[in-house]
């Protein structure tokens, strides 16, 4: 993996990350991998085409594809492509050339909605939540629609998905992605997630499954978005943590008894992760159960303390995904069931 020039991380960010991953070797691996480009991954839109058929079509572009997980044949890593004779002369790895910038999104197959470009870790929340056919599913912070379209695929356009998004601009991206993917079971609403939940509860509409993929400081997305290094700010983390608690609390109250909810972020900041989970466990006490769940990659348990704060020990059931463990972006996931 070739390192690239990226903005210098802020000292406080470095200090916090090094406290989160105290082992020096681990730190070294982390700081090395965040300077590299993320792996190209796509998800086959099984509503439109099957994996084998799409692989055949994409191999005609000389793309080298891998199916990393046996149980998820629709997930493909695009390693690169077979180099031309001329490229072969200058390449270190003679058998693999890099895709051109934007090449992944320029094919006929992408334009026709046969696949969706999605980072591996971003596919995890739907794997964890596992929505089923005919269920009623809420994606509270839905844009740009990666997880909504993934849920639409898993649910085979049955049941109903409510995809909510507060921002008008982001909602348009969501609508266009749902359209391209041929998702027909989704209603797109535009409202602040907190008031959406309040209103939906007044209408006595409850959900089988809910995803709160909350707005976050994005510390896990440094590989695809190095500008996050510049934008990172501890004040934002505090403000986001407040919003995340309110979103998760509001969403939980619209869950059916026995229904399940996944909370996820693409950040490592414990204030936005375990801090939020600790809050929700205290808030709903015996009405909530934190669940264990399986994911097809290496994860680490949630932290039980951070900056002098002790969290509920059940927080250990949450999962941290670090980029150096699986060559992905960073992520955080927690899963709950409503008991009462």
């Amino acid at each position: 993996m070739k390192e690239r020039k990226i903005p210098e991380p802020k000292p406080l960010f470095i200090e916090r990350m090094n406290r989160l991953i105290p082992d020096t070797n681990d730190q070294k691996n982390y700081w090395k991998i965040v300077k590299t480009e993320p792996v190209n991954t796509i998800r086959v839109n099984t509503m439109k085409i099957n994996s084998e058929e799409l692989i055949k079509k994409l191999e005609d572009y000389k793309w080298k594809l891998i199916q990393p997980w046996k149980n998820y044949p629709e997930i493909l890593i695009v390693e690169g492509k077979t180099p031309s004779e001329r490229e072969r002369e200058i390449l270190i790895n003679k058998n693999l050339a890099k895709l051109e910038p934007g090449e992944l999104g320029r094919t006929l197959e992408h334009l026709l909605g046969y696949y969706y470009i999605q980072e591996l870790s971003s596919m995890l929340p739907i794997m964890a939540l596992n929505p089923k056919e005919n269920e009623i599913f809420l994606d509270l912070c839905a844009s740009p629609g990666s997880k909504t379209t993934q849920a639409g695929n898993v649910m085979k356009n049955t049941g109903t998905i409510i995809a909510n998004e507060v921002s008008l601009g982001r909602m348009r991206i969501l609508a266009s992605n749902l359209e391209r993917c041929g998702i027909t079971n989704t209603i797109i609403t535009r409202k602040d997630g907190r008031s959406f939940c309040r209103k939906i509860k007044e209408q006595k509409i409850y959900f089988d499954k809910i995803l709160v993929d909350a707005p976050c400081s994005g510390e896990g997305t440094l590989r695809s978005s190095p500008k996050t290094f510049l934008m990172w700010n501890p004040k934002t983390i505090k403000a986001l943590s407040r919003l995340q608690k309110e979103l998760l609390k509001s969403a939980f109250m619209t869950l059916k008894i026995g229904g399940e909810i996944v909370y996820s972020t693409c950040t490592h900041a414990p204030e936005e992760n375990e801090g939020v989970i600790n809050f929700i466990l205290n808030e709903f006490k015996d009405k909530i159960e934190i669940l264990d769940f399986e994911l097809p990659l290496k994860t680490r348990p949630g932290l039980t303390q951070w900056e002098g704060k002790e969290y509920d020990s059940r927080v250990k059931k949450t999962k941290r995904v670090y980029p150096q463990d699986n060559n992905t972006e960073g992520f955080f996931l927690a899963k709950f069931r409503r008991l009462g």
């Binding site: 026709l112 909510n164 079971n185 209603i187 959406f196 939906i200 209408q203």
Partner: protein, 161 residues
């Protein structure tokens, strides 16, 4: 901020029948499972989720519903123009007014250009390349007018197969 008051227009059974009748005349389509809706004057959406009309109205009471279901077609003066997804979803229903393109024509079409081709048809036609459904065009004597939206166009012929 005052929420928008315009509701989605949900087709009645009679309106749906009428719409399918027109699609049948144009493309041989006999059935469309699901609820048809309109946002604005022309855009028709297809919702195939489990919520019924009443439930969709209940959702509208909570927040602005940008859309329900998939953009299926545009109801225009000259007929109904199916979207790319509309042609894909109704693929097995479409039996007439289909134009099959060659590989070169497909690339021209997907780049957003009109295709110079005598089809012997006039009006809206379904565009197909091998198994791929590529939306609707408007055929006249010597060409097919293109409606592929900018965001769905091939940009660079050199990356094509």
């Amino acid at each position: 901020m005052t929420p928008p008051t315009e509701q989605l227009k949900i087709f009645s059974e009679k309106e749906k029948k009428e719409f399918i009748k027109r699609l049948n005349e144009q493309f041989g389509i006999k059935k469309i499972p699901g609820i048809l809706l309109k946002r604005g004057k022309e855009k028709v959406f297809l919702f195939q989720g489990s919520f019924d009309k009443e439930k969709i109205r209940e959702i509208e009471k909570t927040s602005f519903v940008e859309r329900a279901g998939l953009y299926l077609a545009k109801d225009e003066e000259y007929g109904i123009r199916l979207s790319i997804e509309g042609t894909q979803i109704l693929k097995n229903e479409i039996t007439k007014n289909i134009v099959e393109l060659s590989k070169d024509e497909m690339q021209t079409w997907m780049m957003g250009h009109e295709v110079l081709k005598k089809t012997g048809m006039t009006g809206f036609v379904i565009i197909k390349y091998l198994k791929d459904m590529l939306g609707t065009g408007k055929a006249s004597e010597e060409k097919i007018t293109n409606f592929i939206p900018k965001s769905r166009r091939l940009k660079d012929k050199s990356v094509e197969k």
